[in-house]
Amino acid sequence: MPETIEVCPLSELPPGEVRLVEHADLEIGVFNCEGTVYAIEDRCSHDDGPLVEGTLDESDCTIECPRHGSRFDLKTGRPKTLPAYLPVDTFAVIIDDDMIKLEVD
């Protein structure tokens, strides 16, 4: 069984909102993109930029790194633009009785 952690009630993370979750040595960005919640590693694979501080594009389901502008696909963690070229980790999201939970193993 993968370990799960609670983030917050879904009602506290409406569409367009972003939240940073810290767990052990992990920093995870949690994004509500037009009603669907995604979670990715909060570290740009190019220059360690903090992705939760970037610009969320809900229509494209991407987050733009504030440091050099790479856009990451929130569904896959893959960069859609350079200069980043390696994917970041993604985490499975479970909505359990209005609570957002992440699988972190």
Binding site: E64, H68, G69, S70, K80, T81, L82, P83, Y85, L86
Partner: protein
């Protein structure tokens, strides 16, 4: 290691020497002239939101591009001026630049329709003649916009698109939107942000799958007015299995006030495609040349940058290739000549992001009369890019005691199964070399030129004949100290 198909017939560089030595014109006479100004619009100096909106309005752009520009302007304001590279960067005065100058109503398809003054300039630079003789297509940019654009009809029939970037945005908006700024985002660096805010002109090339454009496409960039900013934007997409060679050249008049050239160039080589991009940069000595060039090569694709920097006050340019697919190949051939008052900070970057990818970086710099040449490069091999092979060679030649050469190579390797070689040399034209040649009856000036020509020959032989001859002629002028 150069792949066999890259080898073009060797140009008889040294045998051209006598002929080249007879050319005694100087930069001011040949390139440094300027025309009378009959502009349709000349922006006041300075950068602000209003000028960015005006550029977008002039071009009747879609809303997304206008928003892209304005967001980029915010990025530009938010980023500090870089402090690395060259102390000359501190001299760039963004308030003393004109960000948009329109010389012509549109990009004409016949030289006869180009405004007379502008046409005379390009005639004098030999562009229409070159088009007739050995090119598949030509674009000519004067100040902010392209004034002439033409492509061989047979290529159009094969689906090749070669047009200016403004026209591409109007006529091929879907393709532009799909690829624009995906290789170099608006927030990549301060100069890329500036270009993204005020870009104008540049080339758009699309080559359909399997099409080989046998003769080069050429763009020529000309600055005419004082304190001008030229910010062209070029996007080249070579679809699967296609080939294209794009060549660019540039000159400007010599003024006491500085001008700024800051281009963004994005190349996309799809699986099996090959793009060769050749630059002969010959800006006058009052131009800051701060350019971002980047390419991506997918499976079995090849991207080659042939980058020759002779002019400008300061050039900072590091063309890069991201090798994203298995067996992709990247090649960077760089020549920089730094004369009096010049700093050429050039080099290249290769990122191996897939297995069995290969690359070469060959950089040569020559410094003379107190000039400064720098090699700045990055070789990166990502975890998982097993079987990657790369060779980096950077050589510097100092022609006197007052000149300077610096080398800043960075190598990052995150994979065990790779083969990487790095060589760097700095040499001075020695008294014994000169003595040897002079003892054979060759005058000292001529002997120095022979040594320089021999030094750069491995790279000039990769240029098409016409450009190799031009390159050697420019080196001759630099050796005489007459550029700028």
């Amino acid at each position: 290691m150069a792949t066999p198909d890259l080898v073009t017939p060797a140009v008889p560089v040294l045998t051209e020497n006598e002929q080249l030595a007879q050319i005694n014109s100087d930069y001011t006479e040949r390139y440094g002239f300027h025309d009378a100004e009959h502009y349709l619009y000349k922006a006041p100096k300075g950068l602000n939101r209003e000028i960015v909106e005006k550029i977008s309005e002039f071009k009747s752009e879609p809303a997304w591009m206008r928003e892209f520009r304005l967001t980029a302007l915010e990025h530009f304001y938010a980023r500090p001026q870089p402090t690395w590279g060259s102390p000359m960067l501190a001299e760039v005065d963004y308030d003393d630049i004109r960000y948009f100058v329109r010389a012509s109503e549109r990009a004409e398809r016949s030289w006869d329709d180009v405004p007379d003054d502008v046409k005379k300039t390009f005639d004098r630079l030999g562009i229409p003649e070159a088009e007739r003789k050995f090119l598949s297509g030509v674009g000519a940019q004067y100040e902010s916009e392209v004034v002439y654009h033409q492509i061989n009809e047979s290529l159009t029939k094969q689906g090749v698109i070669f047009t200016d970037m403004d026209t591409a945005l109007r006529e091929h908006e879907d393709i532009v939107r799909e690829y624009f700024a995906t290789i170099i985002p608006a927030n990549d660096n301060k100069l890329a942000s500036l270009n993204s805010a005020v870009w104008s002109g540049g080339s758009f090339v699309y080559v359909p799958p399997g099409v080989h454009v046998e003769m080069p496409l050429q763009a020529y960039f000309r600055i005419n007015t004082e304190s001008m900013g030229q910010f062209e934007r070029t996007l080249i997409i070579a679809d699967e299995g296609s080939y294209v060679h794009y060549v660019e050249g540039c000159t400007a008049p010599t003024y006491s006030a500085s001008s700024l050239h800051s281009a963004v160039v994005e190349l996309i080589a799809k699986p099996g495609a090959r793009i060769r991009y050749t630059t002969v940069q010959n800006w006058s000595a009052n131009v800051f040349n701060l350019v971002t060039k980047r390419a991506v090569a997918y499976e079995d694709a090849t991207v080659e940058w042939v980058d020759c920097n002779l002019g400008s006050k300061l050039t900072m340019k590091y063309p890069s290739v991201y090798l994203m697919g298995e067996r992709a190949h990247g090649e960077i051939l760089s020549i920089a000549f730094a004369g009096k008052g010049q700093h050429q900070d050039a080099g290249g970057k290769i990122i191996h992001a897939a297995p069995n990818t290969t690359s070469n970086i060959f950089a040569k710099s020559i410094s003379k009369d107190g000039g400064r040449g720098s090699y700045r490069g990055l070789l990166e091999i990502a975890k998982g890019a097993h079987g990657a092979r790369s060779k980096v060679v950077c050589d510097a030649l100092l022609l006197d005691e007052h000149s300077r050469s610096d080398t800043y190579p960075t190598i990052r390797i995150s994979e065990d199964d790779v083969n990487v070689g790095h060589e760097a040399t700095v040499s001075k034209v020695g008294d014994d070399q000169l003595f040897y040649l002079m003892s054979h009856g060759i005058p000292e000036d001529e002997a120095s030129k022979l040594i320089v020509n021999g030094f750069i020959e491995p790279i000039t032989k990769e240029l098409p004949m016409e450009y190799a001859v031009e390159m050697n002629r420019l080196i001759e002028l630099q050796m005489e100290g007459s550029i700028g």
